[in-house]
Subunit: 507 residues, 2 copies
């Protein structure tokens, strides 16, 4: 019987063969997957235990044929077929950019990123990893920022259960090295010619766990938080290239993968911009499905206008720049890091819940997206931002409330008012210095007031339509109907409260 | 008997003479005031009613001689003397810049500007003007931003009781012109060759009323809020020069005068930068006492590095730039406009009290200064920000609390931590993204947390001293002693609250 695979699920070809040489380096394996006159080239990979695999994500319903090519006879010229069938209800395909500034799943279902960050939840051992998944079931998040490599940092002193290369740790870590940038990387611990397949199998399980929850895995490929612990931030150039090919061969077929080339790329000072450009291109060439690609900044922005960047992943707390970023980059903007709700000593890790929630609304109101993190300290040093576990903050409930409101916006989502004159027409009283506003054509207007408390705001609504107007208390999570059939120039009277928003929806 | 004048008070020479021609234009009058071998040139002015005056502010105790020069015989060669005596208790002289970033009165008494704004309180008629003065008696402010010319704007539709030139209003004002920039100025209403002395006499009374309350008059010489009401923003170049000479001749001798060349200078689009430079120079040449000189921006900053600018008067809400401004301009920074506590529909006029107070603390903590304004609407359209009257907001009490804390800082005041490494030494946990910090050498450290809520903050205090540490709730106005004799590395534990600050003072 022909094997059936859901559209956007993955089909796997498993080939067993004892081979001579290093299967990670000496063996070439790829396959063409063909539907009628269209063909996709898929790279194979070695998965340990004399096993080679090819994974394929079909995007068209019907019969696909494949045929392998290899420099090893036993793996060469193997043919087969699969039948791609209709996707199940929760399978909407990979997320794509639509309409310049927004996202949707490939089947057209709206997708508005409401992300969180648990950088290395996937390196904490089964018990805690399970707890994280349990927490995510009830959380409002549909995107997870997470690292492929383990992380060494304050509050992150534990070794991961597995390592990405064969080899072993040979000394106690000297904690004082954290934040130091001139460290001889301990690369002699590892056989850099041999990946550890179990490490990547575990990563795959985590990506699929997230997929089952409807969460996109915003996978951080490189990061600077190593500080001489393992040296994975200082791998030789050819090892990085091999790693990118291996990673894409293994996981490109998972529909919920996003490629984030780095967290704080510019903190990896030994890598210059052309190196990052090159990594983008390597992944672009080896991911046949063109998953989303971005890179997250420390102090310096990557030039997100470069054509291989699909969307902007930004670290900043300066949300008043959101319209400027959108206009300049002409791509969706996700502020993946604006600080975290929590109580650790660092400024970035001690936002009050009010400040964290304000970031979400400021970003959303201008047509962008924002990411969450939580850093409440505990004796076990299990902080959500890094290790996952439990959420105890006050922002997730408010973010859930915001997500409902985002998902009510007419597709594809809000745009900032550009130019300013356009905004003035509808909101004659301006919106800057602490306010944020956006719209969807003449169908929907949104104004977030942050800590501004006007007695009223005027809306000069377009002729010929009536509008519903709601006053939203974003902190207390209430929605009060101000008018059902507003038209023309309307004075929306407001209570004296912080963190209000006004929503205007065409009937 | 020789006339006695307090140091930094003003001495007046009054000369009566019927003259031919236009006394504002045709008559030159000046005097040299001489103490021993030092001489200051003072301009005279026509004060109406066949009266010419010369005003002089002596800055040295002892006998001064003067002698007039004029192109009119009756005013020429008049000699006299005065005795400058010790100043009374509340007279500390004019405010000067000290130590690059701060201010003090000329006698060395500390002066930290805690300003407010009532742009045209002085054009509202006796009753309301008296009420404003009454309010100021109990308010925490020691600087008042106010305009020489009347203001036409939303909520400012009343005519002033007097006009600066002879002439009269000849039509009803068309309110729809407000915010319009292409208006034929109605300058034909006025005889621009003749000032109205009563207008300036009233201004002088107001300046002296403020002086009696210990309030500096930060006098706005030009502003764009005219919109065809009177045309005072579009005076011919030679009239502006004459106005500057007349104004400086009249009021330079008042010790509490500051020259603010404009509010939102760049909104006067018909004047280019060289014109503003010229105005600075005219005042610099005609004010023998060198009162403080600044200029306030709309969207574009004036280049405050120019040598005739004594301090930066800034409109911005971006307080995280404060250290950058200080470093770049190497002058005191006063954020005279960051928005106003109030409830009007405009973003700039609807800050919550929390947001207004936060601005003050953010600015202060980095070594800068901040100005207040209040815009709560009322039926009479008497809003403090423009007309004065009453204060009803919640920020003034908190600003009074802040002022006490500012005045407790060792002289001359706080400096930002520059470079960053210097800060890290004492505050190893950083302070950015919503925090602000400053210090006075090793004597005093200050950290404002805004809406950050760390469980604790570390201070790595310099060897050899002990410090008092206070936790300040800037909103509830409480000061809790955390430690009396802290030394070395200290963990300051903090409650989970918004708007806290930590003060560390050497014993």
């Amino acid at each position: 019987m022909i094997k059936q695979t859901e559209k956007w699920d993955y089909f796997e070809v498993v080939l067993k063969s004892e081979i001579n040489g290093n299967p990670f380096i000496d063996i070439d394996l790829e396959a063409n997957f063909t539907y009628q006159n269209r063909s996709l080239k898929v790279n194979g990979f070695y998965d340990g235990d004399n096993t080679f695999k090819l994974r394929f994500m079909p995007d068209t319903i019907g019969k696909w044929q494949y045929e392998t090519r290899s420099n090893v006879d036993a793996l060469n010229g193997i043919r087969g077929e699969l039948e791609c069938i209709a996707p199940s209800n929760d399978n909407h395909g990979p997320v794509r950019v639509i309409d310049s500034y927004h996202f949707a799943y490939e089947d057209g279902t709206p997708y508005h990123p409401v992300g969180t960050t648990c950088y290395v939840w996937n390196h904490q051992g089964d018990e805690l990893e399970k707890k994280t998944i349990e927490t995510l079931k009830d959380a409002p998040f549909n995107k997870m920022r997470m690292c492929v490599f383990p992380k060494r940092y304050r509050l992150n002193l534990n070794e991961p259960p597995l390592y990405p290369f064969e080899g072993e740790i040979k000394r106690e870590y000297d904690e004082s090295l954290i934040d130091s940038h001139n460290i001889e990387p301990p690369l002699d611990f590892w056989d850099l010619d041999r990946f550890n397949p179990q490490y990547f199998q575990k990563l795959e399980k985590h990506i699929l766990d997230l997929q089952a929850l409807g969460i996109e895995a915003d996978l951080i490929i490189f990061h600077p938080y190593d500080f001489g612990a393992w040296g994975f931030d200082h791998l030789p150039a050819e090892v990085n290239d091999r790693y990118l090919k291996y990673l894409t061969a293994r996981i490109s077929a998972f529909r919920n993968v996003w490629w984030s080339f780095a967290n704080e790329f510019d903190f990896m000072r030994h890598l210059d911009m052309s190196v990052w450009d090159h990594y983008f291109k390597v992944v672009q060439e080896n991911d046949p499905y063109h998953h989303l690609r971005s890179i997250h900044n420390g102090h310096v922005f990557y030039d997100h206008t470069k054509p291989w960047v699909t969307h902007c992943s930004i670290q900043s707390g300066d949300f008043y720049k959101m319209p400027e970023w959108l206009l300049h980059y002409k791509k969706p903007v996700v502020v993946d890091e604006c600080g975290y709700e929590g109580d650790i000593e660092r400024a970035w890790g001690s936002l009050s819940a009010e400040a964290m929630v304000e970031c979400f609304w400021l970003g959303f109101a201008c047509g962008g997206y924002v990411g969450h993190g939580e850093t409440y300290w505990n004796e076990e040093e299990i902080l959500w931002w890094s290790k996952g576990g439990q959420l105890i903050g006050d922002s997730p409930a408010r973010i859930a409330f915001l997500r409902e409101i985002i998902e009510d916006v007419p597709q594809p989502g809000l745009s900032p008012f550009l130019p300013r004159e356009e905004r003035q027409t509808v909101m004659p009283d301006g919106a800057y210095k602490g306010m944020a506003c956006g719209h969807k054509g003449e169908d929907y207007y949104f104004l977030y007031l942050a800590r501004n408390q006007p007695r009223f705001r005027r809306f000069n609504l377009p002729e010929g339509s009536t509008y519903k107007i709601d006053i939203i208390d974003t902190w207390n999570m209430t929605i009060d109907r101000f008018a059902d059939d507003a038209k023309g120039m309307v004075n929306v009277e407001l209570p004296r409260k912080n963190y209000l928003a006004v929503r205007v929806v065409r009937n």
